[in-house]
Symmetry: C2
Subunit: 278 residues, 2 copies
């Protein structure tokens, strides 16, 4: 499946897009898919129509590891972000972030998503919000390289998972543990996040998160922030399923599901596999 072949159509722009802030974007699919359509919407908000001009990142899994593109600069004016849109890489699982900094300088070390290896896999993490009272969190073997609360919270989450499981646990066990530790870590502050392990996408809603699953019958979709439409019926097969998670809906003519605060979605094979309290 592709998200690439967007056709430019006569779509009138909607109102104040800067208010519809989007910082997180995740995609999880049952067939190799590029993320160009959704990433275009996100990149536009990264210093273009939005206020998230302090950095951007995109992680694309290939098996147990991810390649990660990071820039401590506005996505909207980034030649690298443009290159990625022009040379799409297909993946089953992607996590992207555009940053408006609350803590930490505009450096590479402070740019989401963050990556660490655990149990021989890359874990990729992007966060929206601010986690408070970090000193209550144990870090264990994972040390932050930058100065964000986000990376600190990510390291604390991985340390807790590593403490619970010496080897990689079952999917159900891992999801339960991620939900439980996230609840604890996010108890003070705002902890909306996307977490990937190359197998599942974990999406925690603390205050604001939305998802959609695109599947047959596919329809046309129009980005909120750009006059860009794509008719997914033209670029899909009937068995394709693509779950997309974003802080705010990226399209204006599809029905997105809003997350309940303090819940975590788990996506697998382009489906919402489960919703857990978190």
């Amino acid at each position: 499946m592709t998200e690439t072949r967007a056709r430019y159509m006569d779509c009138s722009k909607s109102g104040n897009v800067a208010e519809r802030m989007c910082e997180l974007l995740g995609m999880e699919c049952n067939v190799l898919t590029d993320i160009v359509f959704s990433f275009s919407g996100l990149a536009t908000r990264g210093g273009g129509t939005g206020v998230h001009a302090d950095g951007w990142g995109l992680a694309l899994y290939d098996g147990p590891v991810a390649r990660v593109f990071l820039e401590p600069a506005a996505a909207a004016y980034s030649p690298l972000a443009t290159f990625i849109r022009q040379h799409p890489i297909k993946t089953l699982l992607a996590i992207a972030h555009v940053r408006r900094k609350t803590r930490g300088q505009m450096t590479l070390a402070n740019t989401h998503p963050f990556v660490r290896e655990l149990w021989g896999r890359h874990f990729v993490f992007a966060h929206n919000g601010t986690v408070k009272r970090l000193e209550r969190l144990k870090l264990g073997r994972f040390k932050p390289a930058g100065r964000t609360d986000s990376e600190y919270a990510f390291c604390a989450l991985l340390a807790a998972l590593q403490h619970d499981f010496k080897e990689r646990p079952s999917r159900a066990q891992l999801a339960q543990a991620v939900a439980a530790h996230s609840k604890r870590i996010g108890a003070e502050g705002t902890f909306n996040f996307l977490l990937g392990d190359g197998d599942q996408l974990y999406a925690r809603c603390s205050t604001k998160l939305h998802y959609i699953v695109r599947k047959a019958p596919f329809k046309k979709a129009t980005l909120c922030d750009d006059d860009v439409c794509v008719d997914f019926a033209e670029v899909t097969t009937p068995d394709d399923r693509v779950a997309v998670v974003a802080t705010m809906p990226l399209t204006r003519d599809e029905t997105w599901t809003a997350g309940e605060p303090n819940t975590m979605w788990v996506f697998r094979n382009g489906k919402l596999a489960k919703t857990l309290a978190s």
Copy 2:
């Protein structure tokens, strides 16, 4: 300093460049420098004039962390490698690799350089050769994501460093420990490598490695594999120093120093800081 502004000159090509295999490339400087000139030579060998068509990677440090570009495909024909040459990123420390596979499939997880976080910094590693009898090496907390002997040896090296030092040690202690553990790990097989920590570049010669330090008075240099010259006098200031390490010399009109087998160079601030037995 820049390596970018290469002027095309009338340089006749030398003989069989495929024989002059180059897999490793490192650069360590006292002033922000882009690696375009040397990376162009390396990328040409990645499936162009050379036989290293199984993947390439480039890590560019920015403080304690590195951004890493990886592709399990030939560098010579890679749009991403071309993009990087056209949009140079300046850095004080870079490690690049083009791969001719000996073990492991052509996947992202098997593509050098490899990255792990230790003591809140990225360690970046690229290897030339084959390490044998991996089962004798202890892995500790770092698990390979791919199936190469290289990543396995890197994980074993980091596990040993982590075992020796709970916190980041002094530069001298770290260099000694890297040299000692590398000697042990590389005792069976061939273990030429480049290792970076955002502070120093460690370059171990098992069988074949060369370096040059470019400093005032700067001169013209011509890539072996391309008819590309750069006059560094035009693009430098008198205080600039750039150390470049490569499996084989990348230029044909400069004097490169060959490594002694079982030694390790440590570069810092664009200088050879020390040479250790390893």
